[in-house]
């Protein structure tokens, strides 16, 4: 018999944690790439995520006014293109002038961009929460019937299946890009040693652009997945994601995209599992403090092993 412990643990803690972890992982890829290649902590990354989820919502809305009912994932395609363009414009206008200045200038600039992008979204769509997908997400009946027939009933809503599959597909593409294409090899080279990469004939500016394209795309995917998961969008959602994403990037090691993925999954699971009643009846950590978990992991990591789990770069 599928015990009640496992039923509760897997369905209500483990799978949501995994889904949250996937979202963190996608977001952390962009952060770790910019940190590794451009050498600064991009505070505006969460806002690009947030903007792309708003854009997706807008595209779906516009399409529905023409009678087309689009799944958010279809709407995410034009939205991710817009997010990539946004990331490139921001880089050109606000980050490029500081490329040879002390890194802290570009950090301050990204700190400002965070506010600029957020207030732009608030001006256009207003500050209030918007419902992204209506209704209660029901567990997928095929999986439910099949798994309950073999006594391990899994309750996975369709949205979670989309998020898990989507993340796996993006990861496979990303893996191919990094390991087998010229641009991906260039990215790894610049991340390891920018000067050496430049003298060996790699066009660093192009690599930087590619970084924004990949980072922007992953951020857009993360934003849309987050909106699909929580079913609402609001202008502070990017900022709320920022800390766990940084924690994931640092946990995995700066400049290590697959480390960031591992870090994202660990942080997502840790946040969800911290609410599980491991000891006694109540949750170990009150759900109100859930977002503190990521932060504590990050601080512990920074103090005891700043290079992260996968020996990333230490600045």
């Amino acid at each position: 018999m599928w015990e009640s412990f496992w039923f509760e643990f897997i369905n209500f803690y483990f799978i949501p944690g995994l889904v949250l972890g996937c979202i963190y992982a996608l977001g952390a890829i962009g952060i770790t790439l910019t940190f590794g290649i451009l050498r600064f902590a991009n505070f505006a990354h969460g806002e690009i995520m947030m903007t792309s989820s708003y854009l997706t919502w807008e595209f779906v809305l516009v399409a529905s006014s023409f009678g087309l009912i689009l799944h958010p994932i279809i709407g995410a395609i034009p939205a991710s293109i817009c997010a990539i363009i946004l990331a490139l414009i921001v880089d050109r206008l606000f980050y490029k002038p500081f490329r040879n200045s002390p890194t802290i200038m570009i950090v301050i600039a990204s700190f400002g961009m965070m506010l600029i992008i957020r207030s732009m979204v608030q001006v256009i769509w207003g500050p209030n929460q918007i419902t992204f997908v209506k209704g209660i997400a029901k567990p997928n009946s095929i999986i439910k019937d099949f798994t309950s027939s073999i006594d391990i009933m899994l309750l996975i809503p369709n949205k979670h299946i989309f998020i898990l599959l989507g993340t796996i597909i993006i990861m496979l593409i990303f893996n191919y890009l990094l390991s087998s294409t010229k641009i991906g090899k260039g990215m790894r080279a610049v991340s390891d040693n920018p000067n050496l990469a430049e003298v060996s004939g790699i066009n660093v500016e192009n690599i930087v652009k590619a970084t924004w394209v990949v980072g922007g795309f992953c951020a857009a995917a993360a934003g849309v997945f987050l909106a699909m998961d929580t079913q609402f969008i609001e202008s502070t959602m990017g900022f709320r994601m920022l800390l766990p994403m940084f924690a994931a990037a640092i946990l995995g090691g700066i400049g290590r995209p697959f480390g960031a993925v591992a870090g994202g999954l660990i942080i997502g699971l840790a946040e969800e599992l911290s609410a599980y009643p491991w000891l006694g009846d109540g949750p170990v950590i009150s759900p109100g403090y859930k977002s503190g978990v990521a932060f504590s992991i990050m601080v512990v990591m920074l103090i005891f092993r700043p290079s992260g789990l996968f020996r990333g770069r230490v600045f």
Partner: protein, 360 residues
């Protein structure tokens, strides 16, 4: 006359809040300008100051811890001490981190402080916040003050009531504004003394070249923690004043990072980081720009509303604040790219002794 009074009181409140921001900017200047510590959690320290002050000085309440009804000055000082204690703990843990990491860590700390204020409802009344925080000078008109020592020594409660009824209701406003300005000036002079002192020069050395300073035998970590604590103490005091000015504080809206942390950063960078005068100038300047832009946007909205009947004013009014935020953000980018040193660039203190030349 009525109109002039209105302008006068508006100016007073501008000066009050400008002064509070000047304190925050001075605190940040110690951390960033002197020591090069990127603190992105200004709002957190201000919140600690404001909540400490509020819990210590408010009247007894069933909604939150205390209030302890302590004298206001005790509240101010304890607010500073508490912000300092929290900064010490954070400093010992995080100060070795490089600038970017410290920024991430301090953003996290500000968020955690907010979480604590939101979730510990027994102590802080959670999201509903604390109200009726006594304000310096105005508190004299509250019954629990004038019916107790030392005010009942001068006159009985009845006499005080008659007296306060006989003077205009806004009498405390200029006094409150002046108190804050005097505090700003005192702290300015103390910080100027500090800047040219051996400690201040050592801070500059550490900021400019940490390894060289360490090689010269300076205890880099300890000095940095000191600067972090000192800045946080000033921010805590600013928080206490902010609590007094607002009289109602709650964790989310009052200590919104964009209005507290970000605006203070814009002020410091615009004024000139490393320069105390610049910090004060930047604070007042950006605060005036920020408040006058409210008047401008409201005016534009009124004009738009009269020109086009179809324009929905309420939506525009709702969003005007974000247009201003957008504008301030662009202003920061502009200053950062064109005038990275700010309006008043940092001046190094002269070399002591006979050769009175500027160093660096």
């Amino acid at each position: 006359m009525e109109i002039f009074l209105g302008y006068f009181l508006y100016a007073m409140s501008l000066l009050t809040v400008g002064g509070i921001y000047a304190l925050l900017a001075l605190g940040l200047n110690v951390q960033w300008g002197f020591a090069g510590l990127f603190n992105a959690g200004v709002a957190g320290f201000a919140a600690i100051g404001a909540y400490t002050y509020a819990l210590l000085t408010t009247a007894k309440s069933q909604f939150h811890f205390g209030g302890l009804e302590l004298p206001l000055i005790v509240g101010d000082i304890t607010a500073m001490i508490f912000a300092g204690i929290v900064a010490t703990i954070i400093g010992i843990i995080c100060i070795r981190l490089r600038a970017d990491y410290l920024a991430i860590a301090t953003i996290g700390i500000a968020e955690i402080i907010k979480l604590i204020l939101k979730n510990e409802t027994d102590i802080t009344n959670g999201p509903r916040g604390i109200n009726k925080i006594p304000r310096t000078w105005e508190h004299f008109t509250e019954e629990r003050f004038y019916s107790n020592f030392p005010m009942n020594f001068i006159s009985n409660p009845k006499g005080w009531e008659v007296f306060f009824d006989s003077i205009p209701k806004w009498w405390w406003q200029p006094f409150f504004a002046c108190t804050i300005l005097i505090v700003v000036i005192i702290i300015y002079f103390l910080l100027e003394k500090l800047r040219v002192s051996p400690w201040g020069r050592m801070m500059t050395a550490i900021r400019e070249n940490e390894k060289a300073a360490a090689a010269a035998g300076k205890n880099v970590t300890k000095r940095r923690i000191e600067a972090f604590i000192l800045g946080a103490v000033i921010m805590g005091l600013a928080g206490a004043f902010l609590g007094q000015h607002l009289r109602l504080i709650e964790p989310t809206q009052t200590f919104d990072p964009s209005k507290m942390t970000f605006l203070v950063w814009v002020m410091l960078i615009a004024g000139g980081s490393g320069n105390n005068k610049g910090a004060i100038l930047g604070a007042f300047l950006i605060w005036f720009v920020w408040s006058s832009s409210e008047l401008v946007t409201n005016g534009v909205i009124e004009i738009l509303a009269t020109m086009f009947d179809s324009v929905d004013i309420s939506i525009l009014k709702n969003r005007a604040g974000f247009i201003r935020m957008l504008f301030i953000g662009l202003l920061l980018q502009f200053i950062l790219q064109r005038f990275p040193k700010g309006i008043l660039p940092e001046k190094r203190p002269a070399i002591s002794g006979k050769s009175q030349k500027y160093a660096g």
